[in-house]
């Protein structure tokens, strides 16, 4: 690789000192206009750019933010990522992304890697199966700005950007009840940190509010992949009477569920209502079009990165618990009555 121009190159060519060049380029301190002009001119010609490694070493700053997300082939997360990237780009920050596959072990490794890459901050959506928050606590102790997305590590003193999953699930369930559904099933992830668990609680609250008995059999666990979701849906079809509504933890699960229902000759929504979460781009193109809860993923990404920047500028404190709850929207289409 051809070496890029350094301050030294410019200094040597102009027969002045490195410090003078540095000052001229940054327009700091007193400097003779002529010198300054010369330097700027040559720097332009050589296409000089400061070496971020040297700056990073000196300032203990890398202008890099680490992002940890469970997966990428999911519109929800890629949309968050786009939001983060937007703000980062505008503020001259780079992003390093790590994927955990919802595994605690991989996540711990990612945090360590990023920490030793000297990132200036970390935005993380913790893995569902997380039981030990030690690695995040280390980040907090090291005073590295940290923002959590979507999932709520109880008692962790960190800024958390989330949507109102509890409320959204309550609203969905209530709506289904009002359209006459009584046996409302759930295909969801119930792992400790999952949004599924928050929704599960909103669902239960709605049932209670309307005096409908909670039936544990109607809760089916899924890892949110297509195949386990289809299995989950098939499992629900073994009950009699059948569920009259199924709330799915995301649109992929809902898509898989609809497929199973239709393959078994059931009509949606006449026989069974189906609701998803996240409003993926394909959702309105399913048949029937899928009723879902849209989440402000892009905005969450923007907000997360803005929060990190604010922390870096000492505009907000680091080690306090702070929940920023963003609104989701119930989008009613044709998969419910």
């Amino acid at each position: 690789m051809k070496n890029q121009a350094s301050l030294k190159d410019i200094a040597k060519a102009l027969n002045i000192s490195i410090s003078t060049v540095s000052r001229a380029l940054r327009d700091t301190g007193e400097i003779h206009p002529d010198t300054r002009k010369q330097v700027l001119e040559l720097a332009g010609k050589l296409n000089y750019k400061p070496n971020p490694l040297a700056m990073g070493l000196l300032k203990n700053r890398t202008q890099t933010i680490g992002v940890i997300i469970p997966e990428i082939e999911n519109n929800y997360f890629s949309s968050i990522l786009r939001g983060i990237d937007k703000v980062a780009g505008e503020n001259d920050f780079r992003i390093i992304t790590c994927y955990t596959g919802e595994s605690q072990q991989t996540e711990v490794r990612a945090v360590n890697d990023l920490m030793f890459s000297r990132v200036d901050g970390i935005i993380a959506c913790p893995a569902n199966d997380l039981t030990d928050y030690q690695h995040f606590q280390e980040l907090i102790d090291a005073k590295i700005p940290l923002v959590h997305l979507d999932r709520d590590c109880i008692d962790l003193q960190v800024t958390k950007i989330m949507t109102n999953n509890y409320t959204a699930a309550f609203i969905v369930t209530e709506y289904l009840i009002k359209t006459g559904c009584r046996r409302i099933a759930l295909i969801t992830n119930l792992e400790p940190l999952s949004v599924g668990r928050q929704r599960y609680e909103g669902y239960q609250e709605a049932l209670a509010r309307y005096g409908i008995d909670f039936n544990r059999e109607l809760i089916v666990h899924s890892n949110l992949g297509i195949s386990t979701s289809m299995e989950g849906a098939k499992h629900l079809l073994e009950f009699s009477p059948l569920p009259d509504a199924i709330i799915c933890n995301n649109d992929t699960v809902a898509m898989a569920t609809m497929k199973v229902l239709k393959d078994n000759g059931l009509q949606i929504p006449q026989d069974v209502s189906v609701v998803g979460f996240s409003d993926d781009p394909f959702s309105s193109f399913l048949e029937p079009s899928l009723t879902t809860v849209s989440q402000p993923s892009y905005l969450m990404g923007l907000k997360a990165m803005e929060t990190i920047l604010a922390m870096l500028h000492n505009e907000i404190p680091l080690n306090v618990e702070n929940r920023i709850v963003m609104d989701s929207a119930f989008i009613i289409r044709n998969s419910i009555r």
Copy 2:
């Protein structure tokens, strides 16, 4: 941020020199077993990790690869990204990702940013509207390992990993012809570098081979977004006789097209056959299930990163044109006759 342990810290604590610590840690040169043991022990306790900034500055190497892709909210690209990330992670490389939105201007900026971030190599899927390859040529001139994905910048001396779009389109068109289609439309992107253009040529070749007149009216341009695709499909419905098949440049376009056809009371595939490209996860769940061409995006990602590594290890030359063509598969479902 709490400062992480450095060689100096260890040296001071053990009352030995920095060089000795460095050697002990890397097990290089002669060193007293006892000294070595002490150093290793303390390094472990302090959780010492070498500072990548210092190493990068010294070796002019960052262990970072830049990835430039048009967009992220698209399964094809996120799947490529996952492949790249897999190999990168296994080889202790970090990834910085930039999105261009298919804009030449943004791409040029991304290349410059990455170059001045001192990345060790770049994997790029060039923007469709690219007419000037100057920024890539600079990379080549600077001897920075570069791999191109999917799109073919003519005459650029670079390794290109692509799928056989021409052949795939030929096979699709041929198959449609054999099922009786004669008025085969195309909703596609025809910009210079797009895979759409390669497919356009395979399509034309198939028509010619089977003696079917080429009809310019049946070619509709789309930016591959949902709304322009729907407009494109509507436009096709104005013709009489109607097209009896529509080949779409990706599955999102196909999904949008199917929606328009169905909204207009047309039966798929009885009235119109529809084919997509890329085999997105939702494709088999559409109604009818979508016939498409699956592309080995994950494998392409793996291959791209492996190629960069091989270049970095001087196992393959940098500045030669090298086309690696990977096979795609025609997946026949129910949206064609």
